[in-house]
Subunit: 251 residues, 2 copies
Amino acid sequence: MAAKVYAVGIGPGSLDLLTPQAEKVLRMCTAVAGYQLYLDQIAPLIEGKKIIPGGMRQEVERCTRALEAALAGETVAVVSSGDAGVYGMAGLLMELTQEERFSGIEIEVVPGITAALSCAALAGAPLMNDFAVLSLSELMTPEAVIRRRLEAIAQLDLPVALYNPKSRRRHVLLEYAVEVFRKYGGDQLPGALVRDAWREGQKIQFFTLDQFPFDEVQMTTLVLIGNSQTRIANGRMFCLRGYREKYGVGE
Amino acid sequence: MAAKVYAVGIGPGSLDLLTPQAEKVLRMCTAVAGYQLYLDQIAPLIEGKKIIPGGMRQEVERCTRALEAALAGETVAVVSSGDAGVYGMAGLLMELTQEERFSGIEIEVVPGITAALSCAALAGAPLMNDFAVLSLSELMTPEAVIRRRLEAIAQLDLPVALYNPKSRRRHVLLEYAVEVFRKYGGDQLPGALVRDAWREGQKIQFFTLDQFPFDEVQMTTLVLIGNSQTRIANGRMFCLRGYREKYGVGE
């Protein structure tokens, strides 16, 4: 049988939002690789298994070790928060299998609830129709590209989920994001911050862009910005679907 | 206690990708509203419950009946495939609670694995970094807006997941999508069709845009189009993350 590595998305952190498929794979595998915070969140499922740890920015090393462990006969799960295929480890694992020594290893992706979805659910339904997912981290994408994407998305009247809105050193791209969405969508465009979604310390805040609460944004915050069809009512942020205009009741 | 309606995302159809939280809510509720195909997919969880059925394009009626049932004392789940907050029923339910008679009803969203994620996992990791989610159905969004979004997204070098690529009557928007992505991304831009993901009849096909398999697109197909960083190798479509260029191995 070919060696196999599973790229597993564990969702936002609550085991209630980890899929049965992810649970099966985690229970079945013999070795688990991942950032310690994520391993803690799935601790009950991985007791006694070999751990391949690794900190932030050690992703290549961690994935390389996971692939080596698979060659040595382990069944390996590499865990990512949210979905392994969205700012997670799935792509990097596939990239690494282009190396000759890893070329026989199959990478299977187990999807998970990415932050855009888990946070949107807590805020209401802000990503109801078309939307974009962007990261404000310039570690992987050049800053100029991020700026160009932000401006174009704002101009398109597309709601957006912003990952990695801020780090300790960095906040200018978040300021730029708010600036361009105000420019094209207006001061009253609605938004939400969702922090530590489905975990201890969860916090949801709504606002209009002229009152953007910059000081409330943490590293574990997801920023949601609406469009011209977005409303906030009864403590829920949602995007109009247009059904009523199109079909009316009872058609 | 306030009346409550749950907007539940059931994922792509396999119970293995329905979250434990969704399962709990479905088992706990007394009435379930949804399109019959989705109710069939969760049949083991809803035996004996009151069913509020409704066909395609009867969304307003179905959601209205669900809200009325909640007022009458039922605990109601309205199910959507994928995520209830992405082209699902969550937003419409919130919209309807703006009516006076429904204003006391709380809408809770239980997130699910939307098709972009479930299909991406089967194809590889094509939505690894920033991406957009667009629907080619002009039922809710004017055709001119869809065209403008497609062209802008293609120009931004953003990978895209295209929902509702085609109906019985309609295929011009899909042709337009392929045309603009070829224009900005080139003939060799990679893509994938994922049909009936995680269900019987599942089929995954890779191609470059100059060979786009129009005849293979069905109503249950999701179209994934990559960007300049997308590769297809070892039967997997994935987006380069850039880690190796930035950090090298072992930093």
